[in-house]
């Protein structure tokens, strides 16, 4: 199957310059991006096999265990599907995720927030989607986190996601938020996204049906990557 990828809807994504998020001011291009159909260089991309993934790669409660212990915090399962804009599953997609611990502290040398490090929590994980595009991982719910933007800005609880689809054109990094968190609507980074419906696409729903009783709550987070044009008429090289 051939064909270029759907053009990104740049009114749905955050624009580059969003002054409420101060760092974007000096890190946003001033010129318009050059718009072109994708070529083979963007319609191909690296694929990582399931053999990359170790047994604990998707278990953030135990994959950094230093003394046999488990991470402290509210135990949750995060699961979902990676789909494309044609609603087709994207199997074999590498999904990487990272987050702060239950107190909002990242394990990173440049981070100095006074909330304590959890000795048994690293904060990174990864998974490769199955034939139906499904992934899942177990972790603790991250805490909110203050950051030097405005004088009293806090990030809502969030998990970062990096996704490789089948094409470099689909490469995406985003963040997942949690249903019902009032800080979502106050966050300058969330508010870089102009459309409320687009923001809601990043809010994972609490799923009591997937909750493990007496063990972990569950949140469902589906990720949509760019869709590909189909070729309806063989004599049209560019597709429909």
């Amino acid at each position: 199957m051939s064909g270029s990828y759907f053009q990104r809807d740049r009114d749905w994504h955050p624009p580059a310059l969003t002054p409420g998020y101060k760092t974007s001011i000096l890190r946003s291009p001033r010129n318009a991006p050059l718009s072109l159909p994708t070529t083979l260089s963007e319609e191909t991309g690296p694929v990582f096999g399931h053999d990359l993934i170790g047994a604990l790669d998707n278990d953030l409660i135990r994959n950094f265990s230093r003394d046999g212990g488990e991470a402290i915090g509210q135990r949750i399962v995060v699961y979902g599907r990676v789909l494309d804009e044609n609603a087709r599953p994207v199997p074999g997609a590498l999904v990487e995720f990272w987050q702060a611990n239950a107190g909002g502290r990242y394990r990173h040398k440049k981070e100095s927030y006074l909330a304590a490090i959890d000795p048994n929590f690293g904060g990174c994980g990864r998974a490769v989607t199955d034939a139906e595009g499904r992934y899942s991982f177990r972790t603790v719910k991250p805490g909110a986190y203050p950051w030097p933007n405005g004088v009293n800005d806090w990030r809502p609880a969030h998990i970062h996601f990096s996704v490789f689809g089948h094409a470099f054109a689909q490469r995406l990094i985003t963040q997942m938020y949690f249903e019902g968190d009032p800080m979502i609507w106050q966050c300058p980074i969330v508010k870089t996204i102009p459309d409320r419906a687009a923001i809601e696409q990043l809010v994972a729903a609490l799923d009591r049906n997937a909750t493990i009783p007496m063990d972990s709550l569950a949140y469902k987070f589906d990720i949509v990557l760019r869709g590909r044009r189909s070729t309806m008429f063989e004599n049209r090289m560019e597709g429909n």
Partner: protein, 208 residues
């Protein structure tokens, strides 16, 4: 109202933030023992076919300051112009060449350095051959949607002059921002590709 088109919307992007390396290069930020090696640090092995080249450069912001917390990824064809991807339908890529790499920038001066090979030529959708190029993707704190650009090789003068993408850049003077000049070091060609996010000599970024 017309009928609904049943497309989903792409998940909106968010910044990778200052701690992107926890997820992409945990060993580099001293989160060890989760997985053995960070992905994408090595792109060329002893069996890889093709001419060895070094790609290096610095990422700077609109004030000219180095961007030290970015992550840069590259994606390119092998020496014959084939991609190591299931979506490659024209031929079999060199199995000893992954074609993809990524690395954090230097914390001191915001530079990157990839040891790779010179890619072969890849056709444009209309069949014309593109000049050899490497796809470059940059994410960082302050960048809301990953930035795509391309590195072209400064010594491919003839191919660059006829490249379909370079010729679509409306301001000819800006084409030079995608062409990395060649120098040599220790007998290896070095292509210098500085990425200026904003301002004077701003790099051309691609919406594709």
């Amino acid at each position: 109202m017309a009928q609904r088109l049943d497309y989903l919307k792409e998940s909106p992007s968010q910044t990778a933030g200052p701690y992107v390396h926890i997820g992409t290069n945990p060993n580099w930020v001293e989160i060890t023992g989760v997985w053995k090696d960070d992905l994408g640090l090595v792109i060329v092995g002893p069996d890889t076919k093709g001419e060895r080249v070094i790609l290096e450069g610095q990422v700077t912001d609109g004030a000219g300051s180095p961007v030290r917390d970015a992550l840069v990824e590259i994606w390119q064809a092998d020496a014959q112009g084939f991609h190591n991807s299931p979506a490659e339908t024209r031929g079999q890529a060199d199995p000893a060449f992954a074609g993809w790499a990524r690395q954090p920038l230097s914390e001191t001066d915001g530079t990157f350095r990839f040891e790779t090979i010179r890619p072969g030529r890849v056709p444009y959708p209309d069949g014309r051959l593109q000049a050899p190029h490497v796809t470059v993707w940059i994410v960082a704190r302050g960048i809301n949607l990953g930035l795509h650009t391309r590195l072209y090789f400064g010594d491919e003068v003839e191919a660059n002059a006829a490249d379909p993408l370079l010729n679509r850049i409306p301001e000819p003077a800006r084409r030079a921002t995608l062409i990395a000049p060649r120098t040599e070091r220790d007998g290896l060609p070095v292509f210098r590709f500085d990425i200026r996010l904003q301002g004077e000599n701003e790099t051309v970024f691609l919406d594709m």
